[in-house]
Symmetry: C3
Subunit: 186 residues, 3 copies
Amino acid sequence: MSGFKAHPTSQVDSDQVGAGTVIWQHVVVLRGAVVGANCNLNCNTFVEGGARVGDRVTLKCGVYVWDGVTLEDDVFVGPNATFTNDLRPRSQRHRPVIPTLVSQGASIGAGASILCGTTIGRHAMVGMGAVVTKDVPAHALVRGVPASIVGWVDEAGESLQQVGDDFRSSDGRVFCLGVRGLSLKT
Amino acid sequence: MSGFKAHPTSQVDSDQVGAGTVIWQHVVVLRGAVVGANCNLNCNTFVEGGARVGDRVTLKCGVYVWDGVTLEDDVFVGPNATFTNDLRPRSQRHRPVIPTLVSQGASIGAGASILCGTTIGRHAMVGMGAVVTKDVPAHALVRGVPASIVGWVDEAGESLQQVGDDFRSSDGRVFCLGVRGLSLKT
Amino acid sequence: MSGFKAHPTSQVDSDQVGAGTVIWQHVVVLRGAVVGANCNLNCNTFVEGGARVGDRVTLKCGVYVWDGVTLEDDVFVGPNATFTNDLRPRSQRHRPVIPTLVSQGASIGAGASILCGTTIGRHAMVGMGAVVTKDVPAHALVRGVPASIVGWVDEAGESLQQVGDDFRSSDGRVFCLGVRGLSLKT
């Protein structure tokens, strides 16, 4: 693959980095990592072999993406937000990786921590400093330690208003709540 | 400007870095960033264009200062403390920056997160791991998630004792509470 | 000392790094730091002069070990976990370092913050995102802000079951509670 740009202080061992992706200073992308097209990997980030990063993903500084973590397209990960892949880590005891899925269009706030084994739903938003210990439904806004739902947001991050059983965006679209969170009413 | 020292592994694109400032390993200071005199930027820090850092500021490792963030003189930012400049970030949706002000002499504890749009008052102290979601008055000590006031401190970080409506330092100075926090009684 | 491996982008000024230790990209180990044998220092980590790191220790990315911090053998420190050595830091006011001890076999979860002056007991486990403000007993599992005991774990991180006054591991060993936490019943 080709067509990506990497700063000379970075190390890209993966041959699966998409076109248009920009990799800034002091970044490491290991062999076996998959990074999509048109991503922005800010300085001091790391993508391990086995990690999968979709297209148009933003990693702010201080984000480390481990084996087992999948970030779908259009995901935003704020500075110093932290992923995990072992529920009970001990030094030099390697156990099977526990996967984490951040679904398309979701955002992880600055300094948030994400327990492995969880799924962050599509277009969900994890607040700054939140500690996510269970699944986050699609379009949910979660905050706190442990994180809990405090609202609902659309693709742009704007608040949705609940009207009866429906949730309405400011541009008039209507969402309804299903088992995996909100989705557009059809 | 001149008279600052930068480690050869760092990248300083700004021409506004003050004399006596020391910049350690793997630091990036972008064009348009302003950094004052006699600062200490520890390894793995970053200052973006549009960020303003005063004189005698300390950035410990893992601190990233974004466009819109102003750190006045004598500010201390602990390791992995995290700033933001967008309340509802989405990947590749760029919105106007929301400013954050850390006033003269304030300290941000290790691992704390600061919501954009807030002002940290003069000589305030944000505790380790706190999540600041609203303004912090001058000389206040805040802790927790979300952060709330648990005490008051002087310029050196020593506790102030409340006596009636006044707050007294161990060296006998008297502070009084106004709309923006404590100030020396005159 | 010799027999350790350091990536060429790292800087190792200490002459006290043990054999078999591997130091990855963009790491700084200052003069006066002690790092034991067979450790793994991931990228973007830092060990200050005065810090002591035992044998077989793992530092994940974004971990900065300050003067005054001691990590005994077999300690695991998760990504972006943060140590401190000053209770009331102010920029350019240097005070005596307050020590922190992480005892043999303990784990610090991702994004956790550890107040200086505390001792983390042997084989204790600090959960992801926890803020530790007081001593953690041996074998305790702590979570939350501030961190509190939510369970007990063995050397491998597996839960111990309380049976009367005893705590039992899945392989039939029995622990009892003393002033410093759990220890094997003899």
